[in-house]
């Protein structure tokens, strides 16, 4: 238990240092004077820009040695002082608050939908390996896995918003808008988790304790519910840890595609606009979200599989 906790804490620290260091280097190597760029971003490039740039230089301490600036940079990161956006001029932390909520909702909805689709398809496939459900599931998984998320999103958008007119193609605010982006991610996630579930269920169905449960006269639904589900769930849940990569990457892509005002969308915008404090803040949040999902998966695995508690 403690071991898992420390590993995740360490991971969070590594995320912060990698993101912080990259953004610090980014700030220094971009062509042009950093102070000038910030001043231009804040006040607009007008005749008094040089004066403004000097003020910015003093304010941010850009005239100090690089090493001092770097330590200072990491220090403010540790205090969660993320600075101000070069574009809007508002505190990054403030912008992130709103966006983080939107992204968390999207990720949670996608995960939930994928758990409704993937494991159920996998369960029917695994109970009868080689049967119709198994083969249809396999075809679906192979197809959906080969479609990149942005193409999947476009297809859903064209089908559900354009042709059928059921759902809005973009925007934010009501559950109707979250459905398409979440479904895009969920289908990709389910393509993977359905096969893991199928293999896990097939393995459980072959196990001696499963046969024994049948021999002692339990009905089929009871056998599956009491002896199948929990055992089969262990690999599926630990696989979610790997799927977190797909989820986070997908959130970035899908948010940009559906103009969904989350952190991924903000990250892509910040990169295009070279708004480094925003790049840092958003990348940090996405990284920490990744760590948090990993930690949650650890906890659920421990709860599902008591054997892990002894070794952990």
């Amino acid at each position: 238990m403690k071991k898992f906790f420390f590993a995740r804490l360490l991971q969070a620290a590594v995320v912060a240092i990698v993101v912080g260091a990259l953004c610090f280097v980014l700030m220094r190597v971009l062509p042009g004077d950093a102070a000038m760029r910030i001043a231009a971003g804040r006040y607009g490039p007008d005749a008094r820009i040089a004066e403004a740039a000097e003020k910015v230089r003093l304010e941010l301490g850009l005239d100090r040695p690089i090493a001092v600036q770097f330590i200072d940079w990491l220090g403010s990161l540790a205090r969660f002082d993320l600075g101000h956006s070069l574009v809007t001029g508002r505190a990054v932390a403030h912008e992130l608050q709103v966006q983080l909520g939107a992204s968390v909702w999207l990720a949670a909805a996608a995960l939930l939908l994928s758990l409704l689709i993937g494991p159920i398809v996998g369960l029917f496939g695994g109970l009868k390996p080689g049967g119709v459900a198994d083969r249809v599931g396999l075809m679906g998984a192979v197809t959906f896995r080969a479609i990149p998320p942005f193409v999947m999103g476009l297809i859903l958008m064209l089908v559900f918003s354009r042709q059928l007119g059921w759902l809005p193609p973009a925007g934010f605010g009501s559950p109707r808008e979250i459905l398409l982006p979440a479904l895009t991610l969920a289908l990709g996630l389910a393509a993977m988790s359905s096969r893991v579930t199928r293999n896990a269920v097939a393995a459980v169905a072959r196990a001696p304790y499963f046969a024994f449960a049948r021999y002692k006269g339990l009905s089929e639904p009871v056998v599956v519910r009491r002896h199948g589900l929990r055992n089969a769930a262990i690999p599926v849940v630990s696989y979610l840890g790997l799927q977190a990569i797909y989820l986070i990457e997908g959130v970035v892509v899908v948010e940009s595609l559906f103009a969904y005002p989350g952190i991924g969308h903000a990250l892509v915008h910040a990169i295009v606009e070279r708004d480094i404090p925003m790049v840092q803040g958003t990348a940090l949040m996405m990284g920490l979200m990744f760590v948090a999902i990993g930690a949650a998966v650890d906890l659920v695995t421990l709860w599902l599989d008591p054997r892990m508690r002894r070794t952990a």
């Binding site: 942005f150 193409v151 064209l158 797909y246 970035v252 892509v253 990169i271 790049v279 990348a283 990284g287």
Partner: protein, 274 residues
Amino acid sequence: MSTFDNISFKRPKTGIGSARLAGAGLLILLGGFSIVGPVVIPSDPAAQDFGASLAPIGGDYLLGADHYGRSLVARLAHGARLSFAMAFLTMLAAALPGVLLGLLAAWKGGWTERLLEFVATVVLALPGLMLVLLLLAFAPGNYGPLFLGLALTLWVEFYRVTKTTTRTVLAQPHIEAARMLGFGSRYIFVHYVLPVIGPMIATLSAFAMATAIIAVSTLSAISVGLQPPTPELGSMIVELLPYYAEAPMHVLLPATLIFLLVLGLQLLAQGDRA
């Protein structure tokens, strides 16, 4: 960058399964199109002809023309070649250091391994695409950071698999016997290690290429990857999307091409174990 996850350590079944065969066939067709296409098709993928804007499929233009009247078949061929080339180079840039460092770590152990393990952990702390995005922030729209970022995230998988497998192989009694009989490291590597890790690395390479193709097209589609007018499949889709009402097939063509590329690679990589 998450397509690697269902690699099993079992050696692939002997013989070529039907899925693998289908994947290989698909790739040969697409590879032919991307290598021969740009040479054979006379039209320039950047040549505009506004008179032929959104020309239909099968008219003067074989697969129609886009909104600037650029020949779609030429753009698709160049796009496929770009995707293949990017994917192949990225795979090489990831596989070479990954495999060599994996062998080194398994062979040497000790501090060498601990250091490499640390680097791998640092790289894996963030989802791969985030690292690529952060590097892209240095120069959006350029090949360099895109290529570097992808290679940087993909080498870890090669390193890990090579290291673990080589370690297992080296610990087995027949290696010890070979050593005691006086066979050198080179002999052991060629005759005992390579036959085991070879197929795995081939599988990983196909996955890495599929991942690279998805990543490049995705990043270009969200306008931080390669920029128009480069005939990149992902950005072609986004460019043509506003004209979906007039020319739906034009949008679906590049999307289908990406799908088939990735499908071919994934089928080739995992065969019947999908």
